[in-house]
């Protein structure tokens, strides 16, 4: 066994060393680009999913989101609930949000969006919207008659640049009219414009909880919330924290950010996976074809030599393995070169992220995917190298030696 392996290595090493280095180098380069192709697109998709997840936590759900009980529209007595949640170990802060559909008018433009009301003191602890104010400033506690608009809501004067209906380039200081779903209409000065690059967060409006209370016009303070966002400590296990919140007698629907977005993300990831699989299969087919052609040409050219080796008593398996080892050598250096190219691309796109409509994306190379694709590349190449070598070594010795 060991002797056989040793002779295969010996033959493979000399073939690579003396059997046309240019051809070997060319094949290494082809495999390197095949490998890069196999990894890069999935890494961009992983980066996009990661970017979406980060945006979800930073702007939409925080770490845990509590929704109304089943069959109820609102969380009742939200203030009391907030107090209870804020006392749970592992919770940094909870923020209640009240949402209502509105129409926002500015000059001759109108958009239908959702306005979210919150207490800015709580909100800055649970989301990062306040860090992404492009113009103006974030809402202050007790602010009235002022509104924060997403950048996709304010839009551009040139509407061809807008993704959605917009206010045609409304700016900080402009006054917009907001018509609430309950019939109340208010005029607000735009206090700030938010650019988070999340197409959901950037197509919203935000007012303070005090302002919403006035809009709702009840006899007492508004104690309802559409949702409560909970920020956990960095080291918190979110599933464990969710169980703890439930154990504190919270009867509302409690979800981690993953639970809250899993359906949307799962569908997106599934679609992305289909694209990934097509890319990987395409790349593997290229690798198989290249290696198959390489080894077919090589074994056909070396037919006589293979016949001689068999004649002097070298086993077929030793000869086949020598070709498979050449393939492994090409794959190994192809993968190494591919990793260098990939790393260079990741570094470049980390410095200059890819701009997508819903945010900037940095490629995220997943170690599991890297190993899986590398193993697939090796296996496919080994098969592609094995078949032509096996075919030629199965020829009759004299036919091979005559090269007929």
């Amino acid at each position: 066994m060991f002797e056989n392996l040793r002779v295969s290595v010996f033959l493979a090493a000399r073939a690579l060393q003396r059997g046309g280095r240019g051809r070997v180098l060319l094949n290494i380069i082809v495999i390197a680009f095949v490998f890069t192709n196999m990894i890069f697109l999935p890494s961009v998709i992983s980066g996009a999913v990661e970017s979406y997840n980060v945006q979800t936590i930073d702007f939409m759900t925080s770490d845990i989101v509590i929704g109304p009980r089943v069959d109820e529209r609102y969380i009742e007595d939200a203030d009391t609930l907030l107090g209870r949640i804020n006392r749970i170990p592992g919770v940094i802060r909870a923020s209640a949000r009240f949402s209502m559909p509105v129409s926002v008018d500015f000059e001759e433009n109108a958009v239908s969006i959702e306005v979210k009301a919150f207490d800015p003191r709580d909100e800055v602890e649970v989301t990062r919207i306040h860090e992404f104010i492009e113009e103006g400033s974030f809402l202050g506690s007790g602010d009235r008659n002022e509104i924060l608009l997403g950048v996709l809501v304010t839009g551009h004067e040139d509407k061809s640049k807008d993704f959605y209906d917009s206010l045609g380039g409304a700016a900080v200081g402009d006054v917009v009219t907001v018509r609430y779903a309950n019939g109340v209409a208010r005029e607000y000065r735009i206090k700030g414009i938010v650019r988070t690059k999340s197409y959901i967060a950037d197509y919203m409006a935000f007012v303070t909880a005090d302002e919403m209370e006035s809009v709702l016009g009840g006899t007492g303070p508004n104690t309802r919330a559409s949702e409560i966002l909970v920020k956990a400590t960095d080291d918190a296990d979110l599933s464990a924290l969710k169980r703890m919140i439930l154990s504190f007698g919270v009867g509302e629907e409690v979800k981690t950010w993953e639970d809250a977005t899993s359906d949307i993300v799962a569908e997106s990831v599934e679609s992305f996976n289909i694209i990934n699989n097509i890319t990987v299969i395409g790349s593997l087919i290229i690798a198989i074809v290249v290696i198959f052609i390489l080894i077919t040409i090589k074994t056909f050219t070396n037919r006589k030599q293979i016949g001689i080796l068999k004649a002097i008593g070298i086993k077929k398996s030793v000869i086949i393995n020598s070709y498979v080892m050449q393939v492994f050598f090409i794959c190994t250096f192809g993968v190494i070169l591919g990793l260098v190219i990939l790393e260079a691309m990741v570094l470049y796109f980390t410095a200059y992220p890819i701009e997508f409509p819903d945010g900037t994306v940095t490629p995220l190379v997943d170690a599991g995917m890297l190993v899986e694709n590398t193993v697939m590349l090796y296996l496919s190449s080994a098969v592609a190298g094995f078949i032509p070598a096996w075919r030629i070594t199965n020829e009759k010795i004299l036919d091979a030696m005559r090269g007929a």
Partner: protein, 229 residues
């Protein structure tokens, strides 16, 4: 050592059957230097291929060292060739990507001889064929005579029982041919190795102990030439 009985080899060429060997029987003893001679197409190379297990006869029996070698599986034949035979072909048949020394040691490595021992044996045999100074040269950098001497060193490195040579001088001039044949004679005498050589040159007879002369796939005559050298 070698017993061949009623060997027949029939090739089908289209609808025509060609009887390359047509009932050949003989015995070869240990240490004999046997020449297989005959005109072109007489079946001498076919006979060598049968005896050296490179091809199977259509009919007949071959025993080598008492073993019925035709019953062997392909892999057993391969192992048998490696352990018992040495081969020298008309066109040298060296591996172009291996140096002279590497070509020589290849069969030894395949037998499991450690690299240092195989290299020492390889250098020794290259020295015997007067090519010690050319051990690192690739076949393309050697003359025809030198390549054939490398092939002889390769055939000898495993100290085989039988050396098969298929017209080893066909591509060599008379000086190189004589050097190669002298070497065969020397090996045959010193190492008592059986040498079976195909030739169509009459002057090669002076090296043989015995000549099996073929004509149309049959033994035309056998000549005992002992005492030639």
């Amino acid at each position: 050592m070698i017993t061949a009985r009623n060997l027949k080899k029939i090739y089908a060429m289209g609808r025509v059957e060609v009887h390359a060997l047509n009932g050949v029987s003989f015995d070869i003893g240990t240490g004999e230097f046997v020449g297989i001679m005959g005109s072109s197409g007489s079946g001498k190379s076919t006979l060598l291929h049968m005896l050296s297990l490179l091809d199977d006869p259509t009919e007949g029996e071959i025993t080598i060292g008492g073993e019925d070698v035709l019953t062997f599986s392909d892999s057993k034949k391969t192992r048998f060739r490696l352990q018992k035979f040495g081969f020298i072909f008309q066109d040298y048949a060296l591996v172009p990507e291996l140096s002279a020394l590497e070509n020589v040691i290849l069969p030894a490595l395949a037998r499991g001889v450690p690299l240092p021992d195989a290299s020492a044996a390889g250098r020794d045999y290259l020295d015997r064929v007067d090519l010690a100074g050319r051990k690192d040269h690739l076949p393309a950098e050697l003359s025809g005579g030198e390549q054939q001497r490398v092939a002889i060193a390769r055939a000898l490195v495993n100290n085989p029982d039988i050396l098969f040579a298929d017209e080893p001088c066909a591509n060599l001039d008379s000086t190189n041919s004589r050097a190669v044949l002298d070497l065969f004679g020397q090996i045959n005498k010193e190492l008592n190795q059986t040498v079976i050589m195909v030739s169509h040159e009459d002057w090669h007879r002076e090296y043989f102990d015995r000549v099996i002369r073929l004509r149309d796939g049959k033994i035309e005559k056998e000549e005992i030439l002992k005492g030639n050298r």
